[in-house]
């Protein structure tokens, strides 16, 4: 394959990871934005989503689309509910102190990860995609008789990958509508801006926090359900999404939703493209250092406006 088609393939792969990353990172960003805490166990909620998806698909049997559709509902709800309970049992009791929350969520990370190891086992398990038609893609070439379309060998994607991109975009649109257009969004924004004034206007801040924590975890779980037919479920799969989400949330400006999505697309695409051409480890080193420098020299993020 020549460079052009190759780049296009890399971009498509990058778009899939960008879509999933955007969902995961928006969940983390939501929690940080409203509650002002960093959830280190976020990656484990992602992993749980994948594990639940596998479990649902495995138990239900039948056509893969059935299990997948059910998992799309069950995994976010179950994981979100678990997160809300964790919020109630642990975070609420430590008063959402930022540093203690980090320590407590590190604890949750180990508990969930090792719980999955005990219940789910150390193997990576695949989930069958609901549909998976191979779609060959055309490329434009300058030929002797001017422009023409060619179908290079290897330049292809699957219907499922396109679905992932579309589904993620649809969910992100839904989150945006929820935040900007709904009563619940208004309540969340008010809570984010001034906890005490929210209380003074009858907003039950405790329940909002539990809800936001659950919603954030649910989004991560949903992202995992989407990716698991491509990637397989494994009890250690939460590390990378956590790190990448951190990167995205920081670059996008802590707590800003549009910035987060923009950064997710940027990081997802670069990650996809760079790791096709370079060593993925080198890409990660550079990305990690870049993020550290952004935090040091531009704490409001690359796309954030001003620090509060």
């Amino acid at each position: 394959m020549e460079f052009g088609p190759y780049l296009m393939l890399a971009t498509l792969e990058g778009a899939v990871s960008a879509a999933v990353l955007a969902l995961t990172a928006v969940g983390l960003s939501l929690v940080f934005g409203v509650m002002r805490v960093v959830n280190v166990a976020h990656g484990e909620f992602f992993m749980l989503g994948a594990v639940v998806a596998w479990t649902v698909a495995h138990w239900l049997g039948g056509h893969p689309a059935l299990g997948f559709a059910l998992a799309l509902v069950v995994a976010p709800v179950a994981v979100g509910g678990l997160a809300a309970v964790a919020d109630w049992l642990v975070l609420k009791r430590i008063g959402y102190d930022p540093e203690r929350t980090i320590v407590a969520t590190i604890g949750l990370l180990y508990i969930i990860q090792q719980g999955a190891l005990m219940g789910f086992g150390p193997e990576a398990r695949p989930v069958e995609p609901p549909f998976n038609t191979r779609l060959a893609l055309p490329w434009i070439e300058w030929g002797e008789e001017g422009l023409r379309l060619v179908w290079p060998w290897g330049l292809a994607t699957t219907s499922y990958k396109l679905f992932v991109i579309l589904a993620a975009a649809a969910v992100l649109l839904g989150v945006w509508a929820l935040m900007a257009r709904s009563r619940a969004g208004l309540v969340m924004q008010a809570t984010r801006e001034d906890r005490e004034m929210a209380l003074a206007f009858a907003i039950p801040v405790g329940r909002v926090y539990a809800g936001v924590f659950g919603l954030g975890a649910g989004l991560a779980a949903l992202a995992a359900v989407l990716i698991v037919p491509i990637q397989q479920a494994h009890y250690l799969m939460g590390g990378d999404p956590l790190l990448l989400s951190f990167i995205v949330v920081i670059i996008g400006g802590l707590g800003s939703l549009p910035g987060t999505v923009l950064a997710a697309v940027l990081i997802g695409l670069t990650d996809g493209i760079v790791s096709v051409f370079f060593s993925p480890t080198l890409a990660k080193i550079l990305a990690t250092l870049l993020v550290a420098m952004v935090l040091v020299f531009r704490p409001q993020g690359l796309f954030g406006s001003t620090a509060r």
Binding site: E99, V103, G107, Y110, I111, Q114, L243, L295, V296, P299
Partner: protein, 315 residues
């Protein structure tokens, strides 16, 4: 904190004498464990100087531990250095890295400081994997027995190993005890208690915090170098995020901002996980449960609670 000095020195020296004495009665398994615990506890003491006394929560100390370990290991493996100069290489690597990381990370505070230190450590870990040609990546490498000699001391020998581990630990412990009675140590505690006030008393808080990072990082590197030398193995897993979280866990369990707390926490968690791993493969779950329980019920850890309730004079 006036007075109580003689009592504190007596207590800590007594603990060290006890550690010296028990080696003659311990079975070989626990003898080896205790040597390991003392090296790891030295790491925790170093971590505690930054976290417990200065109030800066780093999630990147594995970088400094690994700097000591690889500084020494690579000097031996690639440079063919003797153990003595290699130790200096390990300490130097830790000092330089901690100064560099500190100078950058200290421009932030709170949650951002944790994330920045985490990121730097992650970059360091990935770098070890990336340069696998030299570091042997995940697999790591063994330090040959003939390199583990300092003059006539054979560090691979169990009894010698115990003595050296104890010496390192005693040095770190007594240094910490001494430091916290100096104006420098007091100023670090002041930063933890109220940084703005400290600045307004005329202290250059940035410089003081940088000094704290450097002391803490170098002590962590010393522990890393000692670990490599005493147990003969250098591996990337010691640079992974888990080894940044472990000292935090040990210090929290034992009591942040107490001199003996890190040792107690290391001892407790080591044996807890040792026993748990006999029961289940998911032994890290114990660590998770302990972390959550500490944040919920025992903010100040074992020794911190003891100080709060029983012995106010405890340093």
């Amino acid at each position: 904190m006036r007075g109580g000095g003689a009592r504190a020195w007596t207590l800590h020296l007594a603990v060290l004498v006890l550690l010296l004495a028990v080696q003659f009665v311990l079975p070989a398994y626990h003898h080896g464990n205790l040597a390991r615990i003392m090296v790891l506890a030295s790491y925790a003491v170093g971590y505690n100087i930054l976290f417990g006394y200065t109030g800066l929560l780093s999630l990147g100390h594995a970088l400094f531990f690994a700097a000591g370990m690889y500084g020494l290991g690579l000097a031996i493996k690639l440079g063919g250095w003797a153990a003595g100069p290699a130790i200096v290489a390990g300490l130097g690597a830790g000092l330089l890295l901690s100064l560099a990381v500190g100078a950058l990370a200290l421009r932030t505070s709170g949650v951002a400081f944790m994330i920045v230190t985490l990121m730097f450590a992650q970059a360091g870990y990935l770098a070890i994997l990336y340069f696998g040609a030299f570091t042997r990546g995940d697999e790591g490498f063994v330090i040959p027995r003939e390199a583990r000699m300092i003059m006539w001391l054979d560090l691979a020998d169990a009894a010698t190993r115990y003595f050296v581990a104890l010496a390192l630990f005693a040095l770190c412990l007594l240094f910490c005890l001494w430091l916290m009675r100096q104006p420098l140590g007091r100023a670090l505690i002041a930063i933890r208690e109220n940084e703005e006030r400290t600045e307004m008393l005329g202290y250059d808080t940035f410089r003081l915090k940088l000094v704290a990072v450097a002391i803490s990082g170098t002590m962590s590197a010393a522990a890393g170098a000692a670990y490599a030398l005493l147990f003969g193995y250098v591996g990337a897993s010691f640079a992974a995020v888990q080894y940044s979280i472990l000292p935090l866990l040990w210090v929290l369990v034992g009591g942040a901002g107490t001199v003996l707390g890190p040792f107690l926490g290391t001892l407790f968690m080591f044996y807890l996980i040792d026993i748990a791993s006999g029961l289940t493969t998911a032994y890290m779950m114990i660590a998770g449960v302990v972390l959550v329980m500490i944040t919920l019920f025992a903010r100040s850890g074992l020794l911190g609670e003891a100080r709060r309730r029983l012995w106010g004079w405890l340093p």
